[in-house]
Symmetry: C2
Subunit: 342 residues, 2 copies
């Protein structure tokens, strides 16, 4: 049974529980493959033909509980003091979104309709988990490649966690975005979008509904974000018709990342609003002061301790150069796709 | 020439500059070895016999500028706005403390007097760099082993950086400690020390002047902190006579870490007060609300993206068990060295 503890000098929560599973041996049968449905816990939801029975082949995208979850959904949420410290039961959801029935096919290699289904699956799981008031926030992420921490690197999947706390990284963004809004009555991400659309040199791709850009102070080489052009705090309220556009942006940028870095390892994080209903009246975000976004963090090298200990990152690639490369340009010349320089 | 940029959604500074050097090839001549003094830039300070000339053999501990610094001391400090963003020139100091003239001898294998000299060197460099008002904080750290990001793993050294900003990780601790003090008129670290000395189960070692303990919400397995028992915000004001005691605590705990994990990779961070004089009258710490400490973070596995992206860490080893092992106990039984349980 896992438990969460909070460090009183940083307010960071840490989960104490079973160690993560060792990376799977390539020869083992893959529990995520079609035909192996009985190797996972019973599915939560799946997309496929209407006549298909649960836990049978035929699905396109399948969501199952993590067989070795960091947090457990069966436990009652308990918070208590422990000496001068704070602790919370390891209550939560830990789900796997199996993105394709096919083994060894990366997200970047899937058809656009399939990627749109994955993006829709994230939204549906967030919507469903937010109904549970025990969950303060829903964190969606994907580890691609061993350098990014994937323990099952050969079958493409993402993870959805319903958390009894708001994780520190999201809390920090919420606090800064809220202070910006309080001061200016403007969303900081809307400010960024407006500025970057005009400046142009850090843009990766612009479609009718989404913008992909290399952020001004990228932590990692070739890091980029995807944001909706229209203000929205809640990913799960995205119009279903827009997932096709979003899938196209994600596929194009991941494809160009593969041109720059063969078989790139990366982490993908979906930063969306926490469960506002669960803490109504207490400090949380309001819809107007936060803007959901997807961050893609390529992992060329492992994060050294210095970055973790200082919070100061060193990045040898300027985001202007990263954006030009991610638009399909060359390291030296321009690609002509950027907007006029400022 | 490097430059710092600040991310407006997290207030995190990122250094953009030359990539770090590739890890040294074992066959190459080691620039840190005695007799190779001309392979480094001219030394800043060294400890050795009084008749020794600079950049000649005979030293015990030698401090040199990093030959490929992330930040440059020659540049004037400039801060300006860049569109809606903030940027600062890459002005700073980046120094190497060569901890021993001997190749392939780890800090844990040095005599106590030698380790005390290293600890004294850190204090002297902090004192000296704080005289420069361009530097907002001085960050001292050590990467031991390739998993911890060491690029010169075979000659023991630590690094001292004079920074034009206060790095985010220190800023976070300062903010939380300051809020605690504002609310309670007590130092949060003094609270932790008092509670842990009474509780006992997370103590690693207690001497006349220092306490080593596994913190309540350790991020990493076998993480531990060393704190002075008497309140002090500024490491560099430590009485010279106490470095012997501190060296003993560090050596004993690193030695036990080596019993648990053969050839452990770890990061060591010294969290000390920022340069209070450089921002007098503006927000910074006061001496009463912060408490310097050394954090040792063993690196058993690389940090997955999940931790970096969420700020939520998962740790399979409870600090009570880590402390028992670090006291020399066994995984199951106790070692009898702990104080009575609470």
């Amino acid at each position: 049974m896992s438990v969460l503890r909070r460090d009183p000098t940083t307010n960071r929560w840490v989960i104490f529980g079973d160690p993560p599973p060792a990376a799977r041996t390539p020869g083992d049968a893959c529990p995520f493959c079609t035909g192996h449905e009985s190797m996972t816990p019973p599915e939560i939801v799946a997309w496929g033909p209407p006549q298909r029975r649960p836990d049978a082949p035929g699905w396109q995208v399948r969501v199952v509980p993590n067989a070795r979850p960091l947090l457990r959904i069966e436990s009652a949420l308990e918070r208590h003091a422990d000496l001068i410290y704070d602790t919370t039961s390891g209550t939560g959801a830990h789900e796997i979104v199996i993105e394709t029935p096919e083994h060894q096919r990366s997200l970047a290699a899937l058809p656009k309709a399939q990627v749109a289904l994955v993006l829709k699956a994230w939204a549906e799981r967030i919507r469903d988990l937010k109904k549970d008031p025990r969950f303060r926030s829903i964190f969606v992420f994907k580890n691609q490649g061993a350098l990014a921490g994937a323990w099952m690197p050969d079958h493409s999947h993402s993870q959805v966690m319903g958390l009894p706390v708001t994780p520190k990284a999201l809390q920090e963004i919420l606090a800064v975005a809220r202070a910006h809004y309080r001061d200016k009555e403007r969303c900081v991400f809307c400010d960024i979008l407006r500025e970057e659309l005009e400046y142009g040199q850090r843009l990766v791709q612009v479609t009718e509904h989404f913008v992909a850009l290399a952020p001004y102070a990228s932590r990692y080489p070739y890091e980029y974000w995807i944001l909706p052009r229209e203000h929205s705090a809640d990913y799960e309220t995205t119009e279903p018709a827009l997932f096709d556009d979003l899938a196209g942006v994600l596929l194009a940028s991941l494809g160009r990342l593969e041109d720059i870095l063969p078989e790139p390892a990366y982490n993908l994080f979906l930063y969306s609003s926490p469960n506002r209903d669960a803490r109504k009246g207490y400090w949380t975000t309001l819809a107007q002061d936060f803007h959901w976004h997807i961050a893609i963090m390529p992992r060329l090298v492992q994060t050294a301790g210095f970055e973790v200990g200082s919070g100061l990152y060193a990045n040898p690639v300027l985001p202007e150069d990263a954006a030009r490369m991610l638009r399909g340009g060359t390291p030296s010349g321009d690609d002509g796709a950027g907007a006029p320089s400022g």
